[in-house]
């Protein structure tokens, strides 16, 4: 390229020059759900993002999981790390060892080899997490935001109203009945984004704008259709509805639950929240601090996508009925 060449190009030529040639988004009205062919997006000069769809569902998430497993098996020289997102996989590579074009060609081959998601049976642990709902600490955090940043209603109230629920009791029921699928990790150490496997219990919440400057560790947040347990005191944007006394990130790795990793969750785990009283909260907290707390983890379980899809088919009518009660139903959201 010679000096001034860029300035000579038209707008569309410029965009074409700098945008990934594999980013074409299908014509029509989004969202499309699962794409026929993945989009290969540029994420800097050393990261590549492979996107399989634009609407959160377990099929697309499992496709990303299967794709990542195939990449690991293939041992492509130059790939340094792979990360499973909700609907995508990020690949970190060494651009001195493999070019974007070469990598795309190899990954497209792998994409063709992704086994049918419906047949997947994944090892999936069930991890039970005690939660004190509408606790004093997250309430205090919300009040602090209200005083310092902008007026903010009680977050449980916001979530109850946004989802057309009756009261706190029903919010607790909706949060503690279904198992939540860990679709991805990332953001902060130990963070896991999980959504309910039973869509009858799907609740949604708008994100903070602007985001909080601090959140108590262990806070249970709801944002879009996800739930998260904040691993650390950190910024955050999800509505806070409770707090767990247990750790989901333990860099000291003293508790046996952290023997192999400083983070509790992994992709494909199922989280079951259960309600506790403030008294129980303090008891568990004491055990956690003393290092005697035993996490409730069922580690031998399998998750069959086929069986899950059959379950969804069985409850289809009930889901439709339930969705009619949701004020957000039919609105454009991710």
């Amino acid at each position: 390229m010679y000096p001034g060449e860029v300035e000579m190009l038209s707008q569309s030529e410029l965009i074409k020059r700098f945008r990934s040639p594999y980013a074409t988004y299908r014509k029509g009205k989004p969202p499309f759900g699962e794409y026929e062919e993945a989009r290969y997006l540029l994420s800097g000069d050393r990261y590549l993002l492979v996107e399989f769809g634009d609407r959160l569902n377990i099929i697309i998430n499992c496709k990303a999981i299967a794709f990542e497993q195939e990449i690991r098996k293939s041992n492509i020289p130059g790939i340094l790390e792979t990360c499973v997102g909700q609907l995508s996989v990020l690949i970190f590579y060494d651009n001195f060892l493999i070019s974007f074009e070469e990598l795309v060609a190899k990954l497209k081959e792998i994409e063709k080899r992704i086994p049918p998601v419906e047949k997947m049976v994944l090892p999936s642990r069930v991890i039970e997490i005690p939660v004190l709902f509408h606790d004093r600490w997250t309430r205090e955090c919300v009040e602090d935001y209200s005083r310092k940043i902008k007026p903010m209603e009680d977050n449980c109230e916001i979530v109850i109203k946004y989802n057309g629920l009756r009261d706190l009791k029903e919010l607790i029921e909706y949060t503690t009945t279904p198992q939540h699928w860990v679709a991805n990790m990332g953001w902060m150490p130990g963070n896991a984004n999980a959504f309910p496997l039973d869509p009858r219990y799907e609740i949604r919440a708008p994100k903070y704008n602007p985001s909080r400057t601090w959140t108590p560790p262990g806070a249970l947040g709801v944002g879009t259709a996800d739930k998260v347990v904040y691993p650390l005191r950190s910024a955050g944007g999800y509505q806070l509805i409770g707090r767990t006394p247990v750790k989901v990130y333990d860099p000291k790795q003293e508790n046996p639950a952290f023997k192999n990793s400083p983070v509790l969750f992994r992709v494909g785990d199922r989280i079951k929240f259960y309600p506790i009283t403030e008294e129980e909260y303090f008891e568990v907290e004491k055990e956690v601090e003393a290092g005697t707390y035993r996490y409730r983890i069922t580690s031998y379980d399998l998750f069959s996508v086929q069986k899950y899809l059959e379950f969804l088919e069985d409850i289809k009518e009930e889901v439709e009925k339930e969705m009619k009660k949701r004020p957000w139903a039919g609105k454009n959201h991710v």
Binding site: L14, L42, G44, L90, N184
Partner: protein, 327 residues
């Protein structure tokens, strides 16, 4: 070995390339924000380029050496002094037991690096000595240095007298202006913005964004005009705000548009986001982000992947023994 008399604003132990391989559980690599100055500093004192040293931010610490050694200060000019007398930067300095290193005004850049012959002796955590303050891991007890800390150093690789009078070739020493041009690769979510806005702001660098007072190793917030988003029928799906998207993992150095505020993510940055990333810094320009501070201006210019690779080659070529001269 040295004693911390004053910790300074944010003084941390870092090594290069940091804690790689844990991005998928949310642990960032950390490491020196300006890896160019840091790695050259290590070469000066005879260390391998990735050995642990100190990152010093704007207001430097006061350190008392408990053993004689050779040090080098590189990076931002924070007016380094030994026993209250100015010392040269980008050049080795012999220090005696009891000598006190301190810093004064920040004259240019944002982060200085102190490298010591033999490096800093702290236990590695997950393969790295880098401090990740927010996660409470690595470095000196997982935190920034504080008054009273006694920090151990490693064994120098070369005899100290062989390390004296070594300096970085003048033409290799980077400049730290207050107006920056950072090179980017478009994407991954560049198609959410109107084409003309995207081209002006993130391809041609027609606008100089201002660095807000909120900048740290996690991210650098920028101030500027509101973003121009494509109408909903012309962009991929988003949430309540056009910048809200499904959660995706992101590379280092993304320009993450949160609502209307672009945040350029740093070495302690987030690995996952629910906001659009319209462009990403090329890896060869990451060090520049470590030297910007509040009030600085930043223009973004798009480059192609091959230009980015050339830039990385050029950067790596600078970090070699050939660029260390003995006078």
């Amino acid at each position: 070995m040295f004693e911390v008399l004053q910790g300074g604003l944010e003084t941390t132990v870092q090594d290069y390339p940091g804690r790689l391989g844990y991005w998928n559980i949310g642990i960032p690599p950390s490491g020196p924000f300006d890896n160019l100055a840091f790695r050259l500093g290590n070469l000066l004192v005879g260390n391998s380029e990735g050995e642990a040293g100190l990152e010093i931010t704007i207001m430097g610490p006061r350190l008392k050496f408990l053993k004689e050694t050779v040090i080098a200060v590189t990076g931002a000019d924070l007016s380094p002094m030994l026993n209250n007398n100015p010392i040269p930067m980008w050049k080795t300095v012999r220090v005696k037991e009891g000598d006190i290193l301190s810093f004064g005004l920040c004259r240019s850049g944002c982060r200085a690096y102190l490298t010591i012959a033999g490096g800093i002796d702290v236990p590695p955590f997950f393969g790295s000595k880098s401090t990740y303050v927010q996660g409470g891991i690595g470095g000196f007890e997982g935190r920034k240095l504080m008054k009273g800390d006694i920090v151990k150093t490693g064994k120098p690789k070369l005899p100290l007298n062989k390390l004296e009078e070594r300096s970085v070739k003048p033409d290799v020493i980077p400049k730290y202006p207050t107006e920056w041009e950072l090179r980017v690769i478009l994407g991954p979510q560049d198609d959410y913005l109107e084409d003309d806005f995207l081209v002006d702001m993130y391809v041609l660098g027609k606008y100089a964004w201002e660095v807000s007072p909120l900048f740290d190793r996690v991210g650098v917030r920028l101030e500027g005009p509101p973003h121009k988003w494509k109408p909903p029928e012309k962009r991929p799906p988003s949430g309540a705000h056009p910048s809200n998207i499904n959660l995706v993992y992101c590379g280092m150095g993304i320009i993450n548009v949160t609502g209307e505020v672009p945040v350029v993510c740093g070495v302690d940055g987030i690995s996952l986001t629910g906001y659009t990333s319209v462009a990403t810094l090329i890896s060869a320009d990451m060090w520049k982000l470590g030297q910007v501070k509040a009030g600085d201006k930043i223009r973004f210019k798009a480059v192609t992947l091959s230009e980015a690779k050339n830039a990385r080659e050029e950067l790596e070529k600078k970090i070699t023994q050939d660029n260390i001269i003995t006078s």
